[in-house]
Symmetry: C2
Amino acid sequence: MTGQMEYIAALPGAAGTTVTVRGWVQHVRTQGKVAFLVLRDGTGVVQCVFVKSQVTPDVWERFGTLTLETAVSVSGDVRLEPRAPGGAELGASELTVLGASPVDYPIQPKEHGVDFLMDNRHLWLRAPRQVALMRVRHEIEQAIHDFFYARDFIHCDTPILTAAIGERSGLFSTEYFDEGTAYLAQTGQLYGEALAAALGRIYTFGPTFRAEKSKTRRHLTEFWMIEPEMAFYDVHDSMQLQEDLLVYIAQRVIERRRPELVVLERDVKHLEAIVGPFPRISYTDAVATLQQKGSTTTWGEDLGAEDEALLVADYTTPIFICNYPKEAKAFYMKENPEDPRTVLCADCLAPEGYGEIIGGSQREDDHDKLLRRIHEEGLEVDAYGWYLDLRKYGTFVHSGFGLGLERTVAWLCGTPHIRECIPFPRLMNRLRP
Amino acid sequence: MTGQMEYIAALPGAAGTTVTVRGWVQHVRTQGKVAFLVLRDGTGVVQCVFVKSQVTPDVWERFGTLTLETAVSVSGDVRLEPRAPGGAELGASELTVLGASPVDYPIQPKEHGVDFLMDNRHLWLRAPRQVALMRVRHEIEQAIHDFFYARDFIHCDTPILTAAIGERSGLFSTEYFDEGTAYLAQTGQLYGEALAAALGRIYTFGPTFRAEKSKTRRHLTEFWMIEPEMAFYDVHDSMQLQEDLLVYIAQRVIERRRPELVVLERDVKHLEAIVGPFPRISYTDAVATLQQKGSTTTWGEDLGAEDEALLVADYTTPIFICNYPKEAKAFYMKENPEDPRTVLCADCLAPEGYGEIIGGSQREDDHDKLLRRIHEEGLEVDAYGWYLDLRKYGTFVHSGFGLGLERTVAWLCGTPHIRECIPFPRLMNRLRP
């Protein structure tokens, strides 16, 4: 009697019945006449206990052949076991090898260098910590979709292949039939603005690209961004939305991914501290604070990662730094009517030194001011004709922001390097596997 | 008294109160001493009624200046109006112009050629039909996420930039630092298989690319695909999942996007007919049927669009065509043990001539058979080392499929050309806007 096929995550609900689970061998250990097999199937991990006197000699012998990552099916009785991570264990009676695994499985339970692990990313992903990161990433993604769906935002997909538009340096390019060169989008924002005029409030959710030779732990050449764009939102409305979004995401992870946070050894108190209101600090005040703290940054310069860390050190929630100097920011940000040296923007910095996770602004909605900025930046005006049209035909107050997905995952999971926060990271020296 | 700011979609719930709505002028008309303004704000459309005797002369005069796509705010009393599309209308008292719109707005209420409309895609998106298409697309996307989330599938993002792997022709390429050439992914499947070994059941949701000189109404160079991959699913389990998914999506659109279907003049009966079980027809039987119907297709050839249309003509649900000849399909499909000339695959064809919307298969899980197929296809074995590893270390029965998002939107909306089913389509002669 092999019982019904079950996922490991469902075992506590099947206590007292006989079931079959399938998965891969994570760990084996024999203690005299009892043998233990830790099995993972992607939904969870369960310990299967084989008692020599209670299984056939065949099964006992077969257990002895098991190696790391062998694919097996195990049948047995489900027992509640409060000390087990998933809350249940399996009193095993049958064992079938579905797919063998040679003893040279590359990732052994010892320390490996990151380059080696990255070369074997397709296998490294099976490790408990990596599984936990992927499951939290998944929860964050669904939380974002649910957040916006409940608020009637329209999910829109903006193009990856674009003619010259957007930011200027660090572009990947490809030949595009007879149309010349296409560039891989660094942002969907400009398209998002056109969509906001059609659909009111929208968000994009897709990959973006930066061909930058950055080798920091906070940069990928390919990363995922969520870019909401809201008609009739000013920069303050936008910050409120960002705050609501981040609080919602943190709550979802706390509520639904606690087992993964345990695997990641992430102290939940850091997530519980993510409640509004997030402090809103002007750039000008921020520079004064930095100077008090000994920074040499002067008014007019953009803030670096060290400055950001200094600023956020006093807080347990994210903070907004608002109204940067025009020169430090992109051409499409709206001039601040109260101080035209600055723009109506806000960067959101995560606590614990995780740095910028959101950049956002109110968009310049004055046609002539925007055109002037395009000229000042030396951009090709022709390429921006359609973008200027949005200011010509029924211009509207609007704001938007970009949330970096991997940075958010890294922050909530307490992982210093974002390369582990995406299944197959792309770095300047890594295109494989 | 201007009242609370409301979205048009929320007006029926605000009946009897005074509100302010903001949006763009879709239509104006004056009938003696009553003037009508049809306003859209992305959430819906509402008629605002101005009675000359009940508004100030200023407001009446301002109404006279309104042009298509002017951004305005209108205040007034909400009245239930069963004959109105949204169920309410506004007895207007105030009118403010927020952003003017010159009389040369390119898209006028007359026939325009498709090239002209595509050149003005950023404005065309504001048209009622385009808004409806985007909103249905959005609903389908969220439905897909909800479907998989409820079933504990893990959403994973696979890389766009890849070293040589996957399908072979029609690749966009870009220089990638010192790593040589990177290709834009045509599929995330191979990566999805690695993730299925780590996470059990996963799905990807992202853009894919084909640098093909296709000029049909069913091809884009950049399109979005959903690619689930399931450990321990055989090809039959996978077909059942596809059926469940399509039925769920259709039901969601019927339940939640009926107003959009009305705008699209889509007869709901076609969507209501999408119920299981979907017929499963072997390729061999399909060829026999085609020959009876007069087709010249012979066993061994892939089926073309005309063949597909002939086959599906007898059905109102999608149908599966199963077990194609090996030569007609990709190298990674599992050999059919009952007929090794064929593979364990299934294409899902939509009714009404919408053609293939899903391609799927059980994957070859035998290391040596897969290696032989890679050799036979003349693929570079080195590039597939990590993919072969999945068959070396704990190989497992698994299946997956790819659902084309734009084709699904086109089918459910009854739109013949998929170029209208994505915000900014990319075609071989279209990279702008």
